[in-house]
Each structure stands twice: as structure tokens, then as C-alpha cells.
């Protein structure tokens, strides 16, 4: 019993590796039901008329790609399907490649034209400072887009001067940028803000949902899976639900098993 309590952590690692790998080999589907917070984002985008401007801030790096990239792709598909103009940007230097590839591939699938239907502004350092700058004038914050085109001349940005002219802003964050968007963006410049984040920081966002500073939230891979279900486009996120479920069950079993052993060995408080 004592040995089981002090088991080498590598044995636990092996269990986790098996729990992740097996469901990918033996595929099975699990029902994914969209929650209220994810539906809020979906409904908001659905309510926007064609030609609306949606700003998506891809504030994540390659480490968080597995959770946030599926969210990004699902959002982009939804926007392009509804003929909404997408303005992409990132406040994370590691995220430029991911953001650019997501926007470009989704845009191509729907026959959208760069500069007319979507644009990727690229990366700017300064986080809160960039938000304040964009709140006053987007063209001064991003004089050129990622490819060096002058933003003032871009048809997709016609009618947009600053953040106040955006019909919806969504921040996909692996860090604390959602809070920065609320404090330095939404509260100052008054636009609707939605969020997508890694599951780890999801609990941090609940106060903002309740106070309606965030209109909706996608949290973790499950949030991405729910969005894929809503737009009827099952992809990597839905596929990831099986291994995620198995690992969650495994960890829960580890916790229970560990406590059973703990009480059986008669540990004193």
C-alpha cells in the first residue's frame, strides 16, 4: 500500500499516455452539447448583418495552439460563411504564424479575398498600449498590415476608424489579455467583447461573464468543440473530446484511488 502511495511518477505518466493514445486509435464519439456562454458568441455573430466588421485578436502562442487554434478556425468559418469582414491581429509575437495561417486557409475555403473580405494586421508590442492606440485610431496603431500594405487603403477597413466602429471583438487568449481588453478596450471604447481562452484560465473569466463585460466565452478544447457543433463543422476539437474525456476520468480515478489508499493505510491527520 505504502509503495503504491509513493509510486514512481513515470508509471502515472505511462497511464496518461495510454489514456490519450487509445481513444485516438479506437475512435468513438461523445455527444457535445453547447453551453450558454458559447451559444452567446454564436448568436452574436449570427445576429450581425453581412458586411459587419469583427476583430479577432489571436493572443496565443504555439504552446496553446491545440486549444485555441480550433476555436479560431471555427470562428473564422462562421464569420466567412455569414459574409462578415474579419480583421485579425495578435498581441503575442509567437502567434503571428498561427493567426495568419488560420485566416488565410479559412478565407480561401470560402473564396474570400484578402484586403477586401479580411485582413491580418500582424503583431504589435505593448498589449494595453496597443488597445488604447487602436481605441483612438486603428490606422495609427497599425499603419501597415502583416504583409506591408498601408491599412488606410484597405477596402475591408472602410467605415472603421477605431475599436468603437467594430461590430464585435473576440479575444482568443492564452494569458491575461482578455482582462486587458476589458479594462483598456471595452470599458473605454464601449464595444461588444467575446472571449476564448485555455481551460486553465477559464475560471478567471466567470466574474466578467456575470457582469456582462464579456458577452460570451469559449473555454478550452470543449469550448471549441461546442462551437464546432453549433456551426455544424466537426473538426479537431470534437475529435479531441474522446481522449480528453478519458484522461479526465483517469485523473478522477487517480484522485479517488489515492485517497482510498490513504485512508486504508490509516494515515493520521
Amino acid at each position: 500500500m505504502e509503495r503504491l502511495l509513493r509510486i514512481d511518477r513515470r508509471i502515472i505518466f505511462i497511464f496518461v499516455a495510454i489514456a490519450v493514445t487509445l481513444p485516438l486509435l479506437i475512435r468513438f464519439n461523445l455527444p457535445v452539447v453547447a453551453t450558454k456562454d458559447v451559444k452567446s458568441i454564436y448568436n452574436k455573430i449570427n445576429s450581425l448583418p453581412e458586411g459587419s466588421h469583427v476583430l479577432i485578436s489571436f493572443d496565443y502562442d504555439p504552446a496553446s495552439k491545440e486549444e485555441l487554434q480550433p476555436m479560431a478556425v471555427a470562428l473564422l468559418h462562421h464569420c466567412f460563411k455569414n459574409n462578415i469582414k474579419v480583421i485579425g491581429m495578435t498581441l503575442n509575437p509567437g502567434g503571428t504564424g498561427l493567426a495568419d495561417s488560420a485566416i488565410t486557409e479559412a478565407g480561401k475555403e470560402y473564396g474570400k479575398k484578402y484586403k477586401e473580405d479580411y485582413v491580418f494586421l500582424g503583431y504589435k508590442t505593448g498589449t494595453e498600449l496597443v488597445m488604447i492606440n487602436m481605441g483612438e485610431n486603428i490606422f495609427s496603431a497599425f499603419p501597415k498590415d502583416f504583409y506591408g500594405n498601408a491599412t488606410v487603403d484597405l477596402p475591408v477597413l472602410k467605415g472603421v476608424q477605431s475599436l468603437q466602429d467594430m461590430d464585435y471583438v473576440i479575444d482568443l487568449a492564452s494569458g491575461s489579455s482578455i482582462e486587458a481588453w476589458i479594462a483598456f478596450g471595452k470599458e473605454k471604447y464601449n464595444f461588444d467583447l467575446g472571449g476564448g481562452c485555455t481551460a486553465v484560465i477559464g475560471p478567471d473569466m466567470y466574474p466578467f461573464l456575470q457582469s456582462k463585460q464579456l458577452t460570451g466565452l469559449m473555454s478550452g478544447l470543449k469550448g471549441a468543440a461546442e462551437y464546432e457543433i453549433l456551426i455544424n463543422r466537426k473538426s479537431t476539437a470534437v475529435a479531441g473530446m474522446s481522449p480528453q474525456s478519458v484522461v479526465h476520468v483517469l485523473v478522477a480515478l487517480f484522485v479517488i484511488f489515492g485517497n482510498v489508499l490513504y485512508f486504508m493505510t490509516g494515515r493520521k491527520k
Binding site: D61, A63, S64, S174, S176, E187, V200, I201, P203
Partner: protein, 402 residues
């Protein structure tokens, strides 16, 4: 008799379809008034328009506002076009329309403005197919920037009150320097951890969080670093400080150098021991984990704001047998630190560290002010919740954000 009944019957039909008839029969009734005025509490780029509702509003009718730089027109620039049954003023029960427009959007900057103020003139037209009807009154206004946002008055008062409270308690602490502070085990354990490292002859590792110098938690962490560096210099132990931000690195180097100087050991300071491990989250984790495993650090201090890397760092440190003290205001990482570290400072305990370790009256005073402010907020929360439950929204109103 037959004619009377026929007329009566026809008039009922007409009344029932009055709005449609009004549109179909071109009997739009324009609003009785139309006002334009400078939007209050703004930067001087917006003009507000207000007009009462018309009984002939419907989804098929639109309001169009034309603008001009001269009172006598021409009114050809379309400033606004909305459905007539939208854009009602909040709290007006759909009796008033209210819109804010920015003249800059449809007029280029005027070069013939004298005195810096320019009036804009507006005409309101009610439109349906096929007829239009205008409001006779031409409204005019000049946008002007305001020097105070009155909607944020409650916020301003609270800010001034809290600042006054902090200064008051700092003065109070100067006269009564022995203010009570409850025990914070994590801070008391710092000496034990450093002593352990000295006995084992192993280095001490100080790990900064991921935020930059603009973050309060980083400032608090730097405070603690200064105190640790003094003790480490006195004990002649090796201190390694890992950073992810270049500005934090510069500050940390200065802080540690000054601490060694203060301890009378300037020769013992090694600049390379305060280094930039990496500039990204997970490379930082990899670098710091590598240091922990290779150098077998005896004491690890995790101070600042951490993200997902916290568990990797703390688990790796735990696997090497080091004593670990964490301090973070990152709510979601607290459970990971609590389970893997020997001591954890939660939230504001990190901010209180500088006051706790130095016992300086000025710092203690501000800490006391924080506690009093929290007490006031708790009271307001409880009272506000009770009052709001019985329908009295006074306290909610005081704390309303603009």
C-alpha cells in the same frame, strides 16, 4: 339609415388600419421637435440629436438626418439613417429618440473655422415610400470637449477617498509604528529556507513570474527579492534569479547588486547569476526546470504572476527535494502551488510582503488602509445585496460604472 351604418362600418375599418392608411395615404406626422446639442462628457467629437416619437412610426418608415455647415443649407450630406422604431433614449419609454453622431465622419476638417468652434446644422426628415415629410426646425450645435466626465464622478470620489485613507493611515503609522500584522507563514519561512540552502551548500533559485514591471505582482516580487538578496549575501549562499522580461531583468540586477552592497558584500555579487532565461512562456519553463535539475537548488522561490507553467515549475522543484515558497496573485495557479509548495502566499499577501518584511511604518500604514477599504467594500456588498433584494438600489447606484 343604411348610409349611416355603411359610413360607421367604413370608419371602423379605417381607424383599425390608421397607421397603414397614414403611410399609404401619405399622412406621415413628423415629430413635434428636434434638438441638437453637444454630447456631454465626451472628447468634443460628438453631437447628440434628440426628438420625440411620432405616432406614425413603423418598420417601413425611416428617419434621415441631413447635415450642413450653413444654416441655410444645402442639406445634402446624409448623417444618419435609421428605422423609425429604433434608437430610443434609455429611460424614455420609447417616447424620445436619441442618437450620437460624429460630424468628422462625414465632413472633412474645416479650414475656414475661426475661434476653434464650428456649428453644424441638422435637418430631420421622416421618410417612407413614396412621400417624405420634414421637421421644420433646423437644429444646430457645436461639439465641445469636456474637461470632466461627470458619469465617472462616483469613481473619482472613491479614488480620492481611498487615496486620502492611505495617506491618513501612513501618517497614523508614523506616530504608531507598531501596527499589528497577522503572521504570514510563507514570509517567516524565508529565513529557514535560506538557512537550509546555506547548510547544504546549494544555490537558491528565485523565479520571477511572467508579467513585466508594469504588473504590481512583479513590483512586489522585486521587493521580496531585495530582502532575500540581503540575507543570501550575509549567509554567503549563491542566489540565482531567472527573468523572462528584459526590464524586470534590469531592475532585478540593480536590486540584487544594491542588496549585496547593503550587506557589505559587493564582491560576492555575480551579474551572471541574475539572467534572462528565455522570453517566452514554455522556453522559460524548460530553462528554469533544467536549472533546478542540474544545479539541484535547495530553495526555490516562485514570486509573481504565473500562468500554466506554474505546475511544471513547482513539480520539477518538488522532485528535486527543494523547499519551495510561492507567492502569486494568479487565482487559477494557486491550487497548483498550494499542492506542490511548502508555503504559498495568496493574492494580496504578496503585496503585503514588502511591509511585512521591512516593518516600515509607511508601508504598514498603507496596508492598514487596504484592510479598512476592504472592510468598507464588504459592508457595502452586504448592505447593497440586502437593499437590492428589497428593491432599494441606492448602493448599487453609488457603485455603478459609467
Amino acid at each position: 339609415m343604411y348610409k349611416i351604418f355603411f359610413t360607421f362600418f367604413l370608419s371602423i375599418l379605417l381607424l383599425h388600419n390608421s397607421s397603414t392608411f397614414a403611410v399609404e395615404g401619405n399622412k406621415l406626422i413628423p415629430p413635434s421637435d428636434f434638438q441638437a446639442f453637444d454630447t456631454p462628457d465626451d472628447d468634443g467629437k460628438s453631437i447628440s440629436l434628440r426628438w420625440p416619437s411620432s405616432p406614425t412610426e413603423s418598420a417601413e418608415v425611416e428617419y434621415v438626418v441631413y447635415a450642413s455647415l450653413r444654416k441655410d443649407g444645402p442639406f445634402i450630406t446624409e448623417a444618419l439613417r435609421i428605422n423609425s422604431n429604433t434608437m430610443y433614449e434609455e429611460g424614455s419609454d420609447s417616447n424620445l429618440h436619441y442618437v450620437e453622431i460624429k460630424p468628422e465622419k462625414f465632413f472633412s476638417k474645416k479650414s475656414d473655422v475661426t475661434g476653434g468652434r464650428s456649428d453644424y446644422f441638422f435637418k430631420l426628415v421622416m421618410m417612407s415610400n413614396p412621400e417624405n415629410v420634414e421637421v421644420k426646425k433646423i437644429a444646430s450645435a457645436a461639439p465641445e470637449g469636456n474637461w470632466f466626465n461627470w458619469k465617472k464622478l462616483n469613481n473619482f470620489i472613491i479614488m480620492i477617498a481611498f487615496s486620502a485613507l492611505v495617506l491618513l493611515f501612513i501618517e497614523h503609522a508614523k506616530k504608531n509604528p507598531n501596527l499589528y500584522l497577522r503572521k504570514i507563514s510563507g514570509l517567516d519561512a524565508i529565513d529557514d529556507a535560506l538557512g537550509r540552502a546555506t547548510e547544504m551548500g546549494k544555490p537558491v533559485l528565485f523565479v520571477h513570474g511572467l508579467n513585466g514591471m508594469g504588473s504590481i505582482s512583479t513590483i512586489a516580487a522585486v521587493n521580496i527579492l531585495g530582502k532575500i538578496a540581503i540575507r543570501v549575501a550575509e549567509y554567503d549562499t549563491t542566489l540565482k534569479v531567472s527573468n523572462i522580461d528584459p526590464i524586470v531583468l534590469s531592475v532585478s540586477q540593480e536590486v540584487v547588486k544594491e542588496s549585496y552592497l547593503e550587506a557589505g558584500r559587493p564582491d560576492a555579487y555575480v551579474e551572471d547569476n541574475v539572467f534572462m532565461a528565455a522570453s517566452e512562456q514554455f522556453p522559460y519553463v524548460a530553462a528554469v526546470s533544467g536549472i533546478m535539475i542540474r544545479e539541484k537548488t535547495a530553495a526555490n522561490f516562485f514570486m509573481g504572476y504565473f500562468y500554466a507553467e506554474s505546475l511544471i515549475l513547482a513539480e520539477t522543484g518538488a522532485s528535486t527535494g527543494a523547499i519551495q515558497i510561492a507567492a502569486t496573485d494568479s487565482y487559477t495557479q494557486l491550487p497548483f502551488f498550494i499542492t506542490t509548495c511548502d508555503y504559498t502566499l495568496i493574492g494580496e499577501e504578496l503585496y503585503a510582503a514588502s511591509a511585512y518584511l521591512s516593518r516600515e511604518p509607511l508601508l504598514l500604514g498603507s496596508l492598514r488602509a487596504q484592510d479598512v477599504a476592504k472592510g468598507i467594500i464588504i459592508t457595502a456588498l452586504v448592505l447593497g445585496a440586502v437593499l437590492a433584494t428589497i428593491g432599494v438600489g441606492f448602493i448599487s447606484f453609488i457603485f455603478k460604472a459609467s
